[in-house]
Amino acid sequence: MNLSLYTLAVVWGVAAGFVTRIRMLESDYRQYPTYPHGHVIHLALGLIAAALGAVAVPALMQKDYTAITFLTVAAQQFRDVRNMERQMLTNLDELELVPRGKNYIEGIAMVFEGRNYIVIFAAFLTSLSVVIFHHWWVGALVGLAILFLSGFLMSGKVIHDIAEVEVAPLRIEGASLYVQDIYLMNIGLEDNRKRILENGIGILVTPRRASGRVTIGNIGQRQAILHDVSTILGVYRDTGEPALTPLAKRDLKDGRLGILLLPQEKDVERAVEIVKNVPVLESAIRKPSKMPKELRKRWEST
């Protein structure tokens, strides 16, 4: 190839960044981003991010230091992406039978912003490696390595990592609905009680550690569980049927979670699998065990 070194760096940087974005743009059961227009938006923004990252290296090499201020514009731009996602999802959430909940939406929005920075980083490193080693194939290798690594950045923890999930019997005493021994709600109509017992699945989520206990107690995290199951298994619910609401309540004593699911297809084993694989929301994670040691000592001695 007869291209100048900087051109090569930029081309490979942009390519690596763009492919990284494609790799991280997965449309799964959550059906988000919506195919195909949502994809177009994010690919276009990914391309811009890749270009920014790739151009930064030649700009710095030319001692064009002010060019770096360009990146601040980019940061602003991607924060807007986050706002856009948040607004759209919040608007749509009002019309969901089982809403995602604010935490889930924040999580998704945050991920969209974060992934653009990963793209910038990937493009920057690829471009830098081409400039340093004077060979385009070094860039290709670095790009591939980052592509591989970005897979790890995508995946977070799931419920199964922090808690045990098992089926538990639903039962009704008078007007009260329980999952095993956890009280869920008061149902006034005989008809609804019958339908809930018929179609409902009771699930018990037992946290393994103290940190998990706080995390699954988070209301946003609980809503995410209910939403995910409803997305995959469908939901036995409609407007005008307020009693048929999937619900999760805590046992106040030990932090276990009792969940009532109302799937369209009553497949108990799959429901358990789905709950196990619900992502742990970033905003719900707490680390009480990371409290400073001195503090804890003082606390325990009193």
Binding site: I187, G188, L189, N192, T239, P242
Partner: protein, 60 residues
């Protein structure tokens, strides 16, 4: 409609309830159940049982 508000009360013992929400009197437990069912669908609010003779409709 605001949240957590009692929209209606259905009872077979109207002398036991009073207050701001509309009160529907029923003659039998079957009628109580039927009226509660109808009001639930109409108001899109949930029926809760206070005791055997009284149900309330609450918007959550």
């Amino acid at each position: 409609m605001s949240k957590g508000k009692i929209l209606a009360v259905i009872t077979t013992q109207p002398d036991k309830v009073a207050g701001g929400a509309p009160i529907f009197a029923a003659d039998s437990l079957e009628e109580l159940e039927k009226k509660a069912f109808l009001l639930e669908k109409i108001l899109d609010a949930m029926v809760h049982e206070i005791d055997q003779d009284t149900k309330i409709i609450v918007k959550h």
